[in-house]
């Protein structure tokens, strides 16, 4: 397990890095509009009407963007939580924590892919 983890560490780190980079860039707009602007009534909800949203989302670009928006933050989150765990004296339990967190992120990524395929 440890060995495998070491082998894929560069990959995880790439995903994590993109999670911060792309994830942050995309999430800012998403939260502003979808999670705050529209629900608070600051922005009209026409843009998010099902028809339009589905059309945009199911285009190729749309699917890719949505997949990135779902999956990348998971890797950022998992990796950071692993660091938090180690920083709070958890080097010893890392052998359990790390696979668990990355497992969650991997599962989530699969779900994300499934979700965009279903569109």
């Amino acid at each position: 397990m440890k060995h495998l983890l070491l082998k894929i560490e560069p990959l995880i780190w790439l995903l994590f890095g993109q999670g911060i980079l792309l994830g942050t860039i995309l999430l800012t707009g998403w939260i502003l509009v979808v999670n705050l602007g529209v629900p608070l009534g600051l922005i009209s909800d026409d843009g998010l009407a099902f028809q339009r949203a589905h059309e945009l989302g199911s285009s190729l670009v749309g699917r890719l963007v949505l997949a990135a928006l779902c999956a990348l933050p998971l890797w950022k989150g998992a990796h950071h939580m692993r660091h938090v765990s180690i920083d709070s004296g958890g080097a010893g339990r890392d052998a359990v924590v790390a696979p668990l967190l990355y497992g969650v992120a991997a599962l989530g990524s699969l779900l994300a892919i499934a979700a965009v395929i279903r569109l």
Partner: protein, 249 residues
């Protein structure tokens, strides 16, 4: 003679011959306004308590011996002026290191880590002296110059949260010094070191706290080095996937 500042120095003492655990002792020290913390410690040793143990030599911030935690911050004691500090000054040994005695910490662990990153020029074929010096442009020099400024003072180790919790972690200075050679245009050992950097407890253990660079007295910016090394290790890894280096692995 300018007026003196009397400051209280609370100093960690620990003598494994006698003490179970570290304790503190306070000294009132009449400080000259120009003094550095080190001058005050030397005053304590010379005039008040000869049994205090601390390391120092150059008193011009270049030998790297005198690193300690001063009021919680990793500091070169020969560089920090007493006049910049509050009336009570707390001097403790560097954090994250086992303490040998008083203010003296264990450095052998670092020496092993340093050696493990191969901090020397690796070349497929050594150049003969007769061929003269290698050429290197000022720009190529700039690429690693900063990272070669490390005085091994260990302040970065005392600040890094990962060092505190991950005993395998090579730590900022060792990685910076390995990386320094990898980006030296005269070196050909980057691949070898990338391999090392992908091992356990190396670059990926760093969580980019950036504390190392905040405390570094020589502006080495070890955080930059560690994270550049990450990049290089990843690129090298990806390249290895695309075009496997035959035979070598």
């Amino acid at each position: 003679m300018a007026e003196t500042l009397v400051k209280k120095f609370v100093v960690t003492r620990f003598d494994p011959d006698k003490d179970e655990a570290p304790r503190t002792e306070s000294y009132e020290v009449p400080c000259h306004p120009d003094w550095k913390v080190l001058d005050a410690l030397n005053h304590i040793k010379d005039e008040i308590d000869g049994s205090l143990a601390h390391r120092w030599s150059c008193r011009m911030s270049v030998c790297g011996s005198c690193g300690m935690n001063v009021n919680g911050q990793p500091t070169l004691t020969c560089k920090k002026a007493v006049s910049d500090l509050p009336d009570t000054v707390e001097v403790t040994p560097l954090a994250n290191f086992p303490v040998v005695r008083d203010l003296v910490v264990e450095l052998d662990g670092f020496m092993e880590k340093l050696k493990s990153v191969k901090p020397w020029i690796i070349r497929a074929k050594e150049k003969a002296v007769e061929e003269g010096p290698m050429r290197q442009s000022q720009a190529e020099l700039e690429e690693f110059k900063q990272f070669s400024m490390c005085i091994n003072c260990m302040l970065c180790y005392a600040a890094c949260p990962v060092v505190a919790n991950e005993p395998e972690f090579l730590g900022p200075a060792a990685i910076a010094l390995g990386h320094r050679y990898s980006v030296d245009s005269r070196d050909e050992g980057a691949a070898e070191r990338n391999e090392i950097f992908r091992g356990e407890g190396t670059v990926f253990a760093c969580s980019y706290a950036n504390e190392c660079s905040e405390v570094c007295p020589k502006h080495v910016d070890p955080a930059a080095a560690v994270n550049q090394a990450k990049f290089n290790a990843v690129i090298d890894w990806a390249a290895g996937l695309v075009l496997p280096r035959g035979g070598k692995e």
